[in-house]
């Protein structure tokens, strides 16, 4: 077994949800989601249709903070703008996988990216959801990922519903004109899945070394615990090689897993490396 880090396992698990059907759109630079999409496209989902910024039909790209946007355009077949994208992908039911991370997430599949505390005078004003309010409903699969699985993030009920899956079960979704598909939550501890409106999330798998009770204790909403809970698949050597050497050599995915004090210097380290590579081209 190869050594790996938890963000690598999570990236591989998110990648497993990406297939050759539908279009996946990258908005904000969320390295774990980006890396997952690239990994899928380089392995089991070569025909995955990716859109990043206004680059439509991207080639797989190497991740970096300053270069992700530019690289998206380099191998892309088309240019659109935000409105064409939402009308041609999201609302047209062509969306494949939507991966989000939010300050709060609850057992109904609702996300809070708006406010902790009263909406009009919040304790913490959050960034807002951009298109997530509509998009997590429209896409075939909704993925939520969290680097720190705890009951303050995975809550019983979000304080404000920025957006929600709305209909969860396949039949309810199809009746509402939506693509059928599950909600998959990937955390640093486990994988949780919800595919019916009236049943709670169930633990699909726990990561190696994590016991089920730890997951239950750290989750603020009810969980269904199967009699047998398998262990999440570990990254393969091929996946790790692609992630480390081709997709994310600068280590951008790990950034979101670095805690408070080291965070800024970790970021500076990546940016120094990006600067040096670019500077070498002009000197």
């Amino acid at each position: 077994m190869t050594d790996y880090e938890i963000h690598e396992l999570m990236t591989c698990r998110v990648a497993a949800e990406v297939d050759n059907d539908g279009v996946t759109v990258m908005g904000s630079f969320t390295p774990l989601a980006y890396a997952s999409y690239m990994l899928a496209k380089l392995t089991h989902a070569k025909d995955a249709y990716l859109v990043g910024f206004d680059a439509v039909g991207m080639a797989p790209v190497q991740l970096s903070f300053t270069g992700a946007e530019a690289s998206a355009y380099k191998g892309a077949v088309c240019r659109w703008g935000m409105l064409t994208e939402i009308n041609s992908i999201h609302l047209a039911n062509h969306g494949g996988v939507e991966a989000v991370s939010s300050a709060q997430f609850d057992g109904s599949g609702a996300i809070n990216l708006s406010a902790i505390g009263p909406f009009e005078a919040p304790k913490v004003r959050l960034p807002g959801g951009a298109g997530a309010a509509e998009v997590i409903k429209m896409y075939r699969k909704m993925i939520a990922y969290f680097g720190n699985h705890n009951p303050r993030t995975l809550v019983d009920k979000v304080q404000f519903v920025t957006g929600t899956r709305w209909k969860v079960g396949d039949r309810a979704r199809e009746e509402a004109g939506l693509q059928p598909g599950p909600i998959v939550v990937v955390t640093n501890l486990a994988v949780l899945v919800k595919d019916e409106d009236d049943r709670p999330f169930r633990i699909e798998s726990v990561h190696p070394g994590v016991d089920v009770q730890t997951v239950v204790d750290n989750t603020g909403f009810e969980l269904e615990v199967p009699a047998e809970v398998p262990t999440t698949a570990e990254p393969t050597p091929q996946q790790l090689d692609l992630l480390r050497n081709r997709i994310d050599p600068f280590g951008t995915v790990k950034f979101d897993f670095v805690s408070g004090k080291e965070r800024l210097s970790y970021l500076r380290g990546i940016l120094d490396a990006e600067w040096d590579r670019a500077a070498a081209r002009v000197s």
Binding site: G27, S28, F29, K41, F53, D54, A55, G57, M58, A59, P60, V61, S64, F65, T66, G67, A68, E69, A70, S71, Y73, K74, G75, R79, G81, M82, L83, I86, L91, L113, S114, E120, A121, P122, V124, R125, G128, G129, A130, G131, A132, A133, E134, M138, F160, T162, G163, T164, R165, R246, I247, R268, L271, E274, W275, R277, A278, A279, R281, V282
Partner: protein, 305 residues
């Protein structure tokens, strides 16, 4: 092109303060750290504009800087974030303290509201953010409506007409025909919706250059009231393929933004220099590397696209 039309709609950046009045609603283009009209943002701060109702789809340093400078009277947004550099401290402070009135849109709702205005509609329906708490907060913006044929219940979003749209293009000519190569984000819908449109651009070019690249024209000149040449006009956000985002300047901004004294100093520096002075101070010797970051960005070779 005859000399009489060479200047056309082209005005200097310094005239921006006269083109936008206190209290007006202004839609700002770009998204995340891509292609915000930052030279225009800085110039509005220099001109001392106040009470601006800013409209952004995904704002970042543009909104936070104006919040810090006291430019904003209201903020309509679907997201404002400094991404890797954290939440937007001055927007956050303004909303949490109640000093910055705001309207939180859902992202698609905001774009479709702009679209509605641009195509002469008082509203447009769509399959909206069902289950979200946002629409109920704003009954003057979101309503429910039904398809007259199928009866399906849909979300109606009201047309949104900014007084002004300010967007940053790669190039434009004197007629206002404006082109983008990389990220245009919400720029075209903002321009089509607004009463007046100001295009800043990396370069003002002859009409001939526009014709030779006609497929890159996203905004024809009949929409545009003023064209302003502003090289590095999106800095410290990106304008691909000319330059990447200046993550180093953004890191400095984020460090200052959380501290009232430091951000006041940051704003004062901008207020007391020209845009040319800004470029000299911040870019000095770094502009070529910001461009090279674009060149260095890699597609994964050997992979199937």
């Amino acid at each position: 092109m005859s000399s009489s039309r060479t200047n056309g709609k082209v005005v200097p950046l310094e005239s921006l303060g006269e083109l936008v009045r206190d209290g007006e609603s202004v839609a700002f283009g770009g998204g995340w750290f891509a292609n915000h009209p930052m030279a225009a943002v800085r110039q509005l701060i220099r001109a001392g504009r106040t009470g601006i109702h800013a409209i952004t789809v995904v704002g970042s340093v543009d909104m936070d800087l104006m919040a810090a400078a006291g430019t904003l009277g209201h903020l309509s947004f679907s997201m404002v974030t400094l991404e890797a550099f954290g939440l937007a401290p001055n927007v956050r402070r303004g909303i949490e303290s109640g000093s910055l009135p705001f309207t939180e849109y859902t992202g698609l709702g905001l774009l479709i509201g702009l679209e509605a205005q641009g195509r002469g509609m008082p509203y447009l329906p769509y399959r909206g953010p069902f289950g979200s708490d946002i629409p109920a907060r704003y009954p003057e913006i979101y309503a429910t409506t039904n398809c007259p044929f199928t009866g399906e219940q849909l979300t109606a979003v009201r047309a949104l007409q900014p007084d002004v749209a300010i967007v940053h293009a790669l190039r434009a000519d004197a007629e206002g025909n404006a082109q983008w190569d990389g990220t245009s984000g919400p720029d075209v819908e903002m321009a089509k919706a607004a009463k007046r449109v100001i295009v800043t651009c990396e370069e003002v070019v002859d009409r001939r250059v526009i014709v030779e690249n006609a497929h890159m024209t996203k905004l024809p000149g009949y929409y545009v009231d003023a064209v302003i040449e502003a090289p590095f006009g999106a800095h410290p956000t990106s304008h691909v393929p000319r330059y990447a985002m200046d993550a180093w300047e953004l890191m400095d901004y984020a460090a200052a933004a959380g501290d009232p004294e430091a951000i006041a100093e940051y704003v004062a520096r901008i207020r007391n220099e020209t845009e040319e002075g800004y470029r000299e101070r911040v870019l000095k010797g770094r502009d070529k590397v910001l461009g090279a970051l674009v060149d260095a960005a890699e597609v994964i070779e050997g992979a199937q696209a």
